[in-house]
């Protein structure tokens, strides 16, 4: 989230699209209710189903899953055509006026530079014109036809209300009603918030769904505002934290990136991470990259990371592909190229797509290790459970080691919620049996592996045997010790660069925050964006002061919000070019002639003059991007692409199938149903029920009872057409697998008319498997395609094709 749950009370309009907060985030949704009750805010829900969020909405519009970009670009088009633009904001705080290189174009669904064989782009033209002074060329009048604003205007012009209706199945009058309500928030004193979750991410163009809304929010001037922002509701309690700390193939903590093979040494690596400002006087915060990187290396390897060995640069593995994400891991496994897999609190047999491929893949491993408080399906993938896991154990040669770990109630530390709050928690219970903490288990793996390398030698043991492991008990580092490492400390005394007489941190002390980081090896810091979480003031993540001056919803003394305890990101943009709030009733910070101050930590240097330094300091432009240059794989603007499995072809680009830049492995393409397939005519989607939490609550008696049985949800119209009765059994199958379930026939799903033809939507909830307290059942992943988003490889769970027929059902 750019903002926080408690900030939602400040909004005038909530749009829930790509999520279902009332069911999936019920206690956060109360802040929507607060805004509605106390300030007359309105709620819009756009979803293929009439969800519980929709049931309390002021306006609901249906949409076909996988067509959000057409809808969102349609709204941008509406705002541009009807002059519903926060012009002062757009001109000063976005790259609308930047001139784009000649050669960049969009035609027939493709941007310049497409290579069909590689399914990738040469992105060299996707950039600004750079002037002789080294800065990007801009035209403040927006008259230049090559400026971002005019290119965008042309790009979105095809998404007329009529085209939106044809693609999305949203009746034109309903689309126009939503567009009109949203466009009112172009006023500086009206603010909209976007709340989204996996309904937007689980698509082959998920990143661009989110970008499209971010662009709309910028055009309306809603980023950085109280009650505004882009608010990813997020799924699990600490996926925000796991991502911040960089537990992904290509990441280092704090959104630094791992080197690739081409970055042969530290200087080459740094050469593309200089982030020189693209406008005069602009602050470009990533210019501090080297400080973050060197401090991270010092946190990893301590005294073994020296200036002489480039702070152990070569000890980091280098990437030869974009990333070894979950999908690539299973693809490699399926090709027989992997030996072992270790799953820590993750149940991929149900969480990854194309169940059959997953079982085949795991069966080819030499070993699988699971660590979990619960008995997961993954750890028992080799066990026969009849139709629910139809395998022959004698044919599976994988050695499986299942380790029991503690759960939240027995564990200490911080979790980062979607508001970016790092909240500390304490253990209250004794773990069952011999269950151990993850901290102990991970330490055992490291310490024992290190011992083997010391004893036996082996391949390149240096990064293992030199890993900084100076914990009081090397067998189990404490949460506090690890939190201090994350925060960072001064190895030698750190002085203020502006005033060398001023000490920022004495040698050996914890750093106050990331502003004290240095690139000469004198500081350590595990994750720079978290620095400040545990400093000489103590454990700031454990703070429990609920004060909230003037009830802004900031709660600045409650736990710690990254970065730097900032509660609203880009909050400098809440004030105009003179530093005065766009809306005085929504003041966050203000310029007093000498400095910025207010309710929140300013997201800018406190002495940076308004009008001189742009508010988006993480971009070298200082402004936000309506055009993302070459930073996304599938285009600098979002464009409508159909899901890989779609009930109709792409109406705006008939020759393009799916997202042209999405990675598809060879065998998987053959397993996709054709567009407008007669064999698989129905558009399926997946979702979670309010009583359930993914595959965990399957083990929880109360929840297993509350919502006991696997079902699929269909419309009354489809039920009538197929002769399916309410509560009767159905067989649902895709090109990859098949399931059996009871049918729930509802009014919540209605057929959509897309391009003149009816499209039936089938809803498939997720929860069931073959372990735990709940009845056995199937998950949507028995059916879903093995393909991910072009930029971040999140699997396309929300839009795929199936067929359905009534069956007799099992004998009771």
């Amino acid at each position: 989230m750019t903002n926080s749950w408690t900030d939602i009370k400040n909004t005038d309009l909530v749009i829930i699209m790509g999520g279902n907060a009332a069911e999936a985030h019920p206690c956060g949704f109360k802040w929507v209710t607060e805004a509605k009750a106390n300030r007359g805010a309105k709620l819009i829900v756009v979803d293929p189903r009439f969800t519980r969020s929709a049931s309390v909405a002021d306006f609901y519009a249906p949409i076909r899953q996988g067509t959000d970009i057409a809808f969102l670009l349609g709204m941008i088009n509406y705002c541009m055509q009807n002059d519903k633009v926060h012009w002062d904001y757009v001109k000063a705080f976005t790259n609308a006026s930047y001139i784009v290189k000649d050669g960049f174009a969009y035609k027939d669904g493709l941007f310049t530079g497409y290579d069909e064989v590689k399914r990738d782009y040469d992105k060299s033209t996707w950039d600004y014109v750079i002037g002789p002074d080294g800065y990007a060329v801009v035209d403040d009048t927006l008259a230049n036809p090559r400026c971002v604003w005019n290119l965008l205007k042309e790009h979105v012009s095809i998404y007329t209300p009529e085209m939106v209706e044809r693609i999305c199945g949203t009746p034109k009058d309903k689309f126009l009603k939503v567009a009109e309500m949203v466009s009112e928030c172009s006023s500086p004193t009206k603010v909209m918030t976007s709340m989204y979750a996996l309904g937007w991410t689980q698509h082959s163009k998920g990143s661009q769904n989110i970008r499209a809304m971010a662009m709309l929010q910028l055009i309306l001037g809603n980023i950085g505002m109280r009650g505004g922002g882009m608010n990813a509701l997020r799924g699990h309690s600490n996926i925000q934290g796991l991502t911040d700390v960089g537990l992904m193939s290509n990441l280092l903590p704090g959104y630094l990136t791992l080197p690739t093979d081409k970055e042969v040494d530290l200087e080459t690596y740094m050469s593309t991470r200089g982030f020189k400002p693209l406008r005069p006087n602009q602050m470009s915060y990533w210019q501090n990259y080297r400080k973050f990187f060197v401090s991270f290396q010092k946190a990893m390897w301590g005294t073994a990371a020296t200036p002489q060995n480039n702070f152990a640069y070569d000890w980091l593995p280098k990437l030869d592909v974009a990333g070894y994400d979950l999908l690539r891991a299973f693809e490699l496994m399926n090709q027989g190229k992997m030996t072992g897999y270790i799953c820590q609190g993750f149940n991929p047999l149900l969480a990854a797509p194309n169940r059959k491929k997953l079982t085949d893949s795991l069966s080819k491993l030499k070993f699988l290790v699971t660590m979990d408080p619960l008995d997961t399906e993954t750890s028992r993938f080799w066990e026969n459970h009849g139709e629910f896991n139809d395998v022959d154990p004698s044919q599976i040669q994988t050695e499986v080691i299942q380790l029991p770990s503690t759960c939240f109630a027995e564990d200490e530390g911080s979790l980062t919620n979607s508001s970016r709050w790092l909240q500390w928690h304490w253990p209250g219970g004794t773990p069952p049996g011999e269950a151990m903490t993850d901290n102990w288990i991970m330490a055992q793996i490291h310490v024992r592996l290190k011992d083997l390398y010391r004893k036996e030698g082996g391949k390149f043991p240096d990064p293992i045997v030199n890993l900084d492991w100076a914990y009081a008990d090397p067998n189990e580092p404490t949460a506090e010790e690890l939190a201090k490492e994350i925060n960072g400390k001064a190895l030698t005394t750190v002085y203020d660069t502006a005033d060398p007489t001023k000490v920022l941190a004495e040698a050996g002390k914890l750093l106050p925050g990331f502003a004290a980081l240095r690139d000469d090896g004198s500081t350590t810091c595990g994750c720079w964006v978290y620095s400040g979480c545990f400093n000489e003031n103590g454990n700031n993540m454990a703070r429990r002061d609920t004060s909230d001056p003037d009830e802004t919803g900031a709660y600045s003394k409650w736990t710690f919000s990254w970065p730097a305890n900032r509660r609203i990101l880009y909050n400098r943009a809440s004030a105009d070019l003179n530093g005065k709030p766009w809306d005085p009733s929504r003041k966050i910070i203000e310029w007093d002639g000498a400095k910025w101050s207010g309710y929140d930590v300013p997201d800018i240097l406190p002495t940076a003059k308004p009008g001189e330094v742009g508010p988006f300091i993480m971009n070298p432009e200082g402004v936000s991007r309506l055009f993302t240059r070459g930073l996304m794989r599938d285009g600098p603007f979002p464009a409508h692409y159909e899901p890989f499995e779609s009930p109709l072809g792409n109406l705006v680009a008939p020759n393009v199938r799916g997202n042209p830049a999405a990675r598809v492995f060879k065998g998987d393409f053959e397993q996709f149903a054709e567009p407008a397939s007669e064999e698989f005519p129905y558009a399926a989607t997946s979702y979670r029920l309010t009583e359930h939490f993914h595959y965990w609550t399957k083990h929880v008696h109360v929840n297993a009872v509350l919502q006991p049985e696997f079902f699929v949800e269909i419309s009354e119209e489809l039920a009538a057409e197929k002769g399916i009765t309410r509560g009767g059994w159905v067989h649902v199958w895709s090109k990859r697998g098949s399931i059996e379930a009871k049918a729930v026939v509802t009014k919540r799903i209605k057929p959509l008319i897309c391009d003149g033809k009816p499209v039936h939507v089938i809803g498939i909830p997720l929860h069931w498997g073959f372990t735990g307290a709940a009845r056995k059942g199937f998950g949507p992943n028995s059916l879903t395609p093995f393909v991910g988003d072009a930029n971040i490889e999140t699997p396309e769970y929300k839009a795929f094709l199936v067929n359905i027929e009534p069956i007799a059902g099992p004998v009771a």
Binding site: G246, L247, D325, L332, G340, I401, N417, L452
Partner: protein
């Protein structure tokens, strides 16, 4: 004062047995004292309260866990009740159908208790000691790493990668566990590394 709201803190401080007398001596009216006496001893009085957050979605509602026994004193602690934390700014004490049933998660019959190994081709798990399980894991890891670790690529650039064993990190472990996990995984040269945020 509102008896119903303040009862827990008050009884927690003075002890249930002394409650009625203490109320009288503090000058509360007879009606309130009689009312308090009529209520049976509150089950949570002798428990230890611990602050935590709900492990499910990322609203991260504040919760209070009540246990018999106090871990901080080295006692065995059994959690007997979990409720929403009214002080928490986001949830203000409320919990959803998942959070409200957290006790059944802690006490789930399918909580794992012992390390287990399933041998190749076998149709069952067998209980092993932690030492056996961990020594076996690092043996398997090291044998694979030593066999397949790539020190340099074709251009002789040091790449130090290990891509034949992968690690899938969690979604609900702490940031501190995440950082420790990062150190262990990356120092071994692992690149097949992902977490639940991907899906």
């Amino acid at each position: 004062m509102n008896m119903e709201l303040s009862r827990r803190q008050f009884l927690g401080a003075v002890g249930a047995g002394a409650a009625a007398t203490a109320l009288g001596s503090l000058g509360f009216g007879e009606i309130e004292a009689a009312h308090a006496e009529a209520i049976r001893a509150f089950k949570l009085v002798s428990t230890t309260e611990t602050r935590n957050t709900c492990p499910y979605c990322s609203v991260a509602c504040g919760i209070i866990m009540y246990s018999r026994g106090d871990r901080t004193k080295g006692e065995k602690a059994e959690i007997i009740h979990i409720e929403g934390d009214t002080d928490h700014p986001t949830n203000r004490g409320t919990l959803c159908p998942k959070g409200a049933a957290l006790l059944d998660f802690v006490k789930s019959e399918t909580r794992l208790k012992y390390p287990m190994i399933r041998k190749p081709g076998s149709d069952k798990f067998e209980r092993v000691s932690w030492d056996e399980a961990l020594d076996r894991i690092v043996r398997l890891m090291k044998d694979d790493r030593d066999a397949n670790f790539i020190e340099r690529n074709e251009a002789a650039v040091p790449v130090n990668r290990w891509i034949t064993t992968g690690f899938l990190a969690a979604s609900a472990t702490t940031n501190e566990t995440a950082w420790e996990t990062y150190k262990v995984v990356r120092s071994a040269g692992m690149l097949v590394f992902d977490n639940q945020a991907r899906v």
